[in-house]
Amino acid sequence: MTIILGLEGTAWNLSAALVSEERVIYEAESTYKPEYGGIHPREAAQHHASELKNVVARALRGADKEKEGFSLDIIDAIAFSQGPGMGPCLRTVATAARALSISLKIPLIGVNHCVAHIEIGRWQCGTKDPVVLYVSGANSQVLAYRADRYRILGETLDIGIGNALDKFARYLRLSHPGGPKIEELASKGTKYVYMPYVVKGMDLSFSGLTTAAKDAFDLHLEEKADICYSFQETAFAMLTEVTERAMSHCGKDDMLLAGGVGANRRLQQMLQTMCHDREARFYVPEAKYLKDNGAMIAYLGLLMLKSGDTTPIEKSEVNPNYRPDEVEVTWRDVE
């Protein structure tokens, strides 16, 4: 058995998890909650710095409770999110990962956060070769695997869908994270208010949508719930459309949802309907694997370790703009 400690802290959630070939052994987390507004990168990083020791200790203690006798020396390698993410947060977690790797004399594995989302989804759902819709705060991408890489078939041209939702939520004076609160409000909406629908080929744009929603709110002519409903309906229809186009383009019949916004039930429902109508299979992992989590980092670290893909300290610099298609996939069989 190989055991990996995975450290995740690209944005507001700090998480440490122990994962083996068979399962996620234990995961502990600590979430930074801004007092007001959105995530402040420096404050989030300070939160991570002060909580890291605790979170790692809790992960190890939690694993111990299962009476498998875990301690630091049982860990075979340390995996951490090398990017993409907020620079200060990434640097804090990377520093901790390097320190552990050096003091325990075990390999270090720098992991691409987006690819980790995809791999934990494939593992948990048992889908071999899906088209992936990855939706989070900063990212909105449609990906598919071909020739050693996760290729980005379509993506947002401006802000991620999560950011778009959060921006509008802040405008409504809802606290971070805004997505679930918008979802709640939207479920009470019934009337569709016109919103711009921007799809170009397989690319998307959400910033105009956010402005339109703010404008609609300022006019006070529409109910808050109706604006939230219209915002969601428009944004999610755009995402579903490009996902369907990508599936048609690649001729793939499996679809996997990944990333924090994936927890939205209306988005899941739309993708499910789309897949059903084209006789394709829709997969979504449990909510705890949709949001940022250490288990996905540990799991991808495990896959990379097994294929001999580790990161020397001098190449462990973080990359806030690390794109998933920069990663050469060494762990997948030819399919």
Binding site: A144, R146, R149, R151, I152, L153, Y192, Y197, K200, G201, E233, T234, A237, T240, E241, E244, R245, S248, H249, C250, G251, Q269, M270, L271, T273, M274, D277, D325
Partner: protein
């Protein structure tokens, strides 16, 4: 008409089911109808289908006015375009250097007029009996004059050549000759197309 789809044929007609539309060929006419998507609310679904039907028809006509042979449109309804059936062979089956050069000229004209086809493959180009080269299926087309959009267009065409034709390199050079002839910004776009290829973002079919 669409690169990936299911076809059904009977004595009277041929039906092709694409991601967005059903194309029916009957009595020398092509009926392209954008289909309903159950996942989106009616208000969005109807609006998008109407807008796109209108925009596609407009671009087909605009392209022809600028000198790119396209099907003549006979009728437009909310979700349906009725157009001329172009008799001939798919470029995929008959392409040679002369045809590839002609395609290059025509894409140059489209780009000069800020028309981005968005689905340039040798399956969306028909060579008529009179050797006229027709462009069909402007379903994903849009108006834009950025180097990036033009570069993606050219890149997608090269990808489609590489995927299906052995003499890919020569056909590509012929295309470039034609493209440079009708479009003065060709060099900039061709350079960008190379860059886009290096990004490795657009998957071959």
């Amino acid at each position: 008409m669409c690169s990936v789809g299911k076809a059904f044929s009977s004595k009277e007609s041929l039906m092709i089911q694409c991601a967005e539309a059903i194309v029916e060929i009957k009595d020398d006419l092509v009926y392209k109808r954008r289909i309903e998507k159950r996942y989106r609310v009616k208000e969005i679904d109807e609006r998008i289908r109407k807008e796109r039907t209108k925009s596609e028809a407009k671009i087909i006509s605009e392209a022809r006015r600028k000198g790119v042979p396209t099907p003549v449109i006979f009728d437009i309804a909310d979700y349906e375009i009725v157009m001329e059936k172009i008799e001939g062979n798919l470029a995929r089956e008959v392409i040679n250097d002369a045809i590839s050069e002609r395609i290059g000229e025509l894409v140059g004209i489209l780009h000069k007029n800020s028309i981005i086809h968005s689905d340039l493959t040798t399956s969306n180009i028909i060579v008529g009996q009179d050797n006229v080269v027709y462009f069909i299926d402007f379903g994903l087309s849009f108006i834009e004059s950025s180097t990036e959009a033009r570069g993606v267009d050219v890149h997608l065409f090269f990808q489609s050549l590489r995927g299906t034709h052995e003499s890919y390199e020569q056909l590509k050079l012929s295309f470039i000759t034609g493209y440079r002839r009708t479009f003065s910004n060709a060099s900039q776009v061709l350079k960008r197309a190379e860059e886009i290829e290096r990004r490795g973002r657009y998957v071959e079919r």
